[in-house]
Amino acid sequence: MSQSCDISLRVNGETVRERVPVRLNLVDFLRNSLGLTGSHVGCEHGVCGACTMEVDGTMVRGCLMLAVQADGSDITTIEGFGEHQRAVDLQAAFKRNNALQCGFCTPGMMASALEYIEAGGVADRSAIREHLSGNYCRCTGYQSIVDAVVEVIGERAAK
């Protein structure tokens, strides 16, 4: 018999209470139990970055955390970044620059890009590439993603 635990957490600003099997990972919980399918599941071993999301203010791999470990946490996924105005300019810049094609990597890519931008990262292409090195994109060739991040850093600095 599978062990289950009650957890209570905040997801994109809303309080959520659920009973979860302990072996369920965080990204599967968000996708399958809460219907938040913005975070994607690629490799399930931390390599592709498609599941990257924010837990208590830091970006983490949703596939390498258990849902039960998120008890008491405050989580923001791509759905929340969009809704709460944190990534509106980044989303627009991705669109403008064709920084996404199939979109599979985009939620995780935006999470990592936001981490860089919000930490005060500078518009240095190689530093941006280094920061995004943990997120795979099989479509764009990365150039346009870096373009989008550079633009947003410039726009935010000009404000």
């Binding site: 599978s2 990972n25 983490v60 258990l66 039960v68 990592s112 981490e115 943990g134």
Partner: protein, 283 residues
């Protein structure tokens, strides 16, 4: 794939964790950052019956400055180390190496204790601890033991940890102004495991005194190069005889290939990283 089923405990203090670990009725593993264990569980390479989550044990997460040493709790994450002014000032070798350990999201969770306990041959941390001659404190219900890094890493994913023991903390001597450090690794993509790398510490370099060279990602575990270290003693870092002795030691070294490169390639890359790391240390 998904992890096989397991039971889960999240103790909120060290004693409670050690009590759980003293149980002998099931196969258990402690969960630290999960950045190696969770992938292994998802791939079913690891199938513990009981997972003891250390993330609730706040007393294992600290960076403490004493007069001569810096002591780091096992659950301290790479990101905490990278952000710490104490580490910046007193453990410059960490500062050099941390950006090369995995990617930001992994560094936000991965811990110094997890990497040390895992003893992955490709990981940076064991080599850093060897070069710094760190001391690893392990604890169990029976008490604590202090193990020098040189005696801790025994082989491929093999350490001196015994059943029921966990790493509690790691102590490193503070760097003095005349100390010098070097670090170099070659990886296919930034943040990936290195194809070969080296960490170097020296009490002084003018002339060289007490040089410690630790190679990683070239064999079954991180290895010091005792002959090379001795050859440089009392010389300058650009001394050609000492460098030839170091290369001789590499010629005789038991390199082991992995998915990235065979043993001969590793031998070549070891020469490259050693040469480049020494160059960065020259006055």
């Amino acid at each position: 794939m998904k992890a096989a089923d397991f039971a889960y405990e999240k103790p909120d203090n060290l004693n409670a964790a050690l009590e759980l670990l003293a149980r002998e009725d099931c196969d258990m593993q402690v969960l630290a950052g999960g950045q190696s264990l969770m992938p292994m569980m998802n791939f079913r390479l690891a199938q513990p019956e009981l997972l003891v989550d250390l993330n609730g044990v706040s007393e294992l997460s600290f960076i403490e400055e004493q007069p001569e040493t810096i002591t780091i709790g096992a659950m301290t994450r790479y990101a905490n180390l990278a952000a710490s002014d104490v580490i910046k000032e007193h453990v410059p070798l960490f500062q050099m190496a941390l950006p090369h350990i995995a990617h930001s999201a992994v560094r936000n969770r991965g811990t110094i204790g997890g990497s040390t306990a895992l003893a992955d041959p490709a990981a940076e941390m064991p080599a850093l601890l060897l070069a710094l001659e760190a001391t690893i404190t392990v604890v169990s219900v029976g008490g604590a033991r202090e193990i020098p890094a040189n005696d801790f890493f025994l082989g491929l994913y093999e350490t001196a940890l015994q059943d029921g023991e966990i790493i509690k903390s790691i102590a490193i001597k503070k760097a003095k102004p005349q100390n010098r450090f070097g670090f170099y690794e070659l990886a296919r993509r930034h943040g990936d495991y290195a194809m070969a790398g080296v960490a170097i510490a020296s009490t002084s370099i003018d002339p060289v005194c007490d040089l410690r060279i630790a190679l990683f990602s070239v064999s079954d575990k991180a290895h010091r190069l005792p002959h090379a270290e001795l050859a440089f003693e009392g010389e300058n870092l650009d001394d050609t005889e000492a460098r030839d002795a170091a290369f001789q030691e590499l010629d005789d070294f038991d390199f082991r290939g992995d998915l990235n490169a065979d043993g001969d390639t590793k031998r070549h890359l070891a020469r490259v990283v050693l040469t480049r790391a020494l160059e960065t240390m020259m006055p």
